[in-house]
């Protein structure tokens, strides 16, 4: 049984069916690359994995525990990079990162911030206020955030947006290092990111024609609860 897995996931956004009956599984050191056209649900899936969204059906588990049974523990093990960089314009890069170190209960925050800034090659900017950063520098600051503190799982939503080729290669290196330490990386990207042998998850395969799904679920007997063969097998 995989460490981080999801089974039979259905996701509705608003009233639109994004994907259905999706399953995934990842073990330490794995990388999963999400692919799919616009609106296929790459971001939604990452948000489901983070616990921001609740799947309409199905379950996501970490070591067989549903992630919603202990939200804090799940948050402690994951680092999430969304579309936005969450950088306060009036705070310096260091101050911006400081909060996330504190919230994760990191002991030596300044040292970790230094390491993270060196790794992303933006240490010279550590005292620069957020408003003077270019968009690429902001993205790298956001990436530095996910290096602070311990994590087992990275969920990266389009991490390469705003990054040039060199920075993308640096990111690929960071991902490789993280995997070598036993981390799980799940990411979506439009451009090629030099990650070694990622598992491909093509979301287009899970797009269900809404009409079929409606027929399926309009049947009064079906209450959305169904037996899960994987769980039964345990």
């Amino acid at each position: 049984m995989a460490v981080f897995s999801g089974s039979d996931l259905t996701c509705l956004r608003g009233e639109r069916l994004v994907f259905g009956k999706l399953s995934f599984a990842a073990n330490p050191g794995d990388a999963i690359m999400l692919r799919g056209r616009n609106g296929a649900g790459k971001s939604s899936l990452l948000r489901l994995m983070a616990g921001l969204l609740v799947p309409r059906s199905g379950q996501i588990t970490w070591n067989d525990d549903p992630i919603h049974s202990d939200r804090i523990a799940h948050h402690a093990r994951l680092q999430y990079l969304g579309h936005q960089d969450a950088i306060k314009p009036v705070l310096s890069v260091r101050d911006n990162l400081h909060l996330w170190g504190q919230l994760r209960g990191v002991d030596d925050i300044d040292r970790e911030i230094d390491t993270a800034l060196h790794a992303l090659d933006i240490h010279h900017l550590s005292r620069t206020a957020g408003r003077y950063l270019s968009s690429g520098q902001k993205r790298r600051t956001a990436l530095a955030r996910i290096l602070i503190g311990h994590a087992d799982l990275w969920l990266l939503d389009e991490p390469t947006v705003g990054l040039d080729r060199e920075s993308s290669n640096e990111l690929a290196q960071l991902i490789a290092d993280f995997r070598a330490k036993g981390g799980i990386v799940i990411y979506s990207t439009h451009i090629d990111l030099a990650v070694k042998e990622p598992t491909l998850l093509d979301l287009d395969e899970f797009a269900i024609p809404m009409i079929e799904w409606l027929k399926d679920h309009d049947a009064p007997a079906d209450d959305g609860i169904r037996s899960d063969p994987k769980r039964a097998a345990q």
């Binding site: 009233e15 024609p209 009409i211 799904w213 409606l214 679920h217 309009d218 049947a219 079906d222 959305g224």
Partner: protein
């Protein structure tokens, strides 16, 4: 628990009930109005104006009843995440707001000949007015989101918060009022109601409650069917006619004032 599976059950269950309920409501209100307007005695002090009571008291009852209903729906949406709960709360709000407004208007019309003023800052009047504000806040919140689902959920949370707050508001308004004008002369319910007035009053209250359920069922059915249509549109079933797809949300509170 499923948002499309459950609603189909709701549609099936309510279809046969609706005509009976509507018929009973019409008869109750007709009988109530007959007794209220013709077959009940006039008050020896108030004359014919007392007949306003038969609209006023049931409206006040409905205003409170609908708010409690909304709060219960809010709690159900919070605890069981039942999709119907949000829709019910959303459908209830305009009805409750209308009844509350009706209560205030009839009260005002009644107050003018009786007390010589349209409005008094009496505890009851004031708390009814605040209740109306709460309804309006709810309706505004629910309709302020592009995603109707998000609006309903936010509304349910607000209804619940309001329910906790309503007793506090009510209690503090009572307190505030007695502080300023002790032993208020203004009593809305007057002396013990004569038995000959009780019958029309009871009929009207029952009729109004029935009316609420009829409108509620109609509104929920409408909303469910609208959702189905939207879902079918999204599924691409009507691809060739997709251009004349109607825009969402033709005003959830527009038809309640009828």
């Amino acid at each position: 628990m499923h948002r499309f599976a459950k609603p189909s059950v709701f549609l099936k269950l309510t279809a046969p009930i609706l005509p009976w309920l509507a018929g009973a409501t019409a008869m109750l209100i007709a009988a109530g109005l007959y007794f209220a307007l013709f077959a009940s005695p006039i008050d020896y002090q108030q004359g014919d104006t007392v007949r306003i009571m038969y609209l006023h008291v049931p409206s006040a009852w409905m205003g409170l009843f609908c708010y409690v209903g909304m709060a219960i729906c809010g709690a159900m949406s919070l605890i069981w995440k039942h999709p119907l709960a949000d829709i019910c709360a959303r459908a209830t709000a305009p009805i409750g707001a209308t009844f509350t407004a009706l209560c205030l208007i009839t009260g005002s019309l009644w107050g003018e000949p009786m007390w010589g003023t349209w409005w008094v800052w009496d505890a009851r009047l004031t708390s009814m007015l605040i209740l109306l504000f709460l309804y309006l806040g709810y309706i505004a919140l629910v309709n302020a989101f592009d995603d109707p689902d998000r609006g309903s959920k936010a509304g349910s949370a607000l209804a619940l918060v309001g329910a906790v707050n309503v007793p506090i508001v009510k209690f503090s308004v009572d307190w505030w009022n007695t502080l300023h004008q002790p032993a208020s002369i203004v009593r809305m319910d007057g002396p013990a109601v004569d038995p000959s007035m009780q019958l029309p009053l009871a009929l009207m209250i029952l009729g109004f409650t029935g009316y609420y359920f009829v409108v509620l069922i109609l509104r929920v059915r409408l909303e469910l069917n609208e959702r189905r249509i939207r879902a079918l549109h999204l599924s691409g079933m009507f691809d060739d006619t997709a251009q004349d797809a109607e825009p969402y949300d033709p005003g959830h509170n527009a038809e309640a004032s009828q």
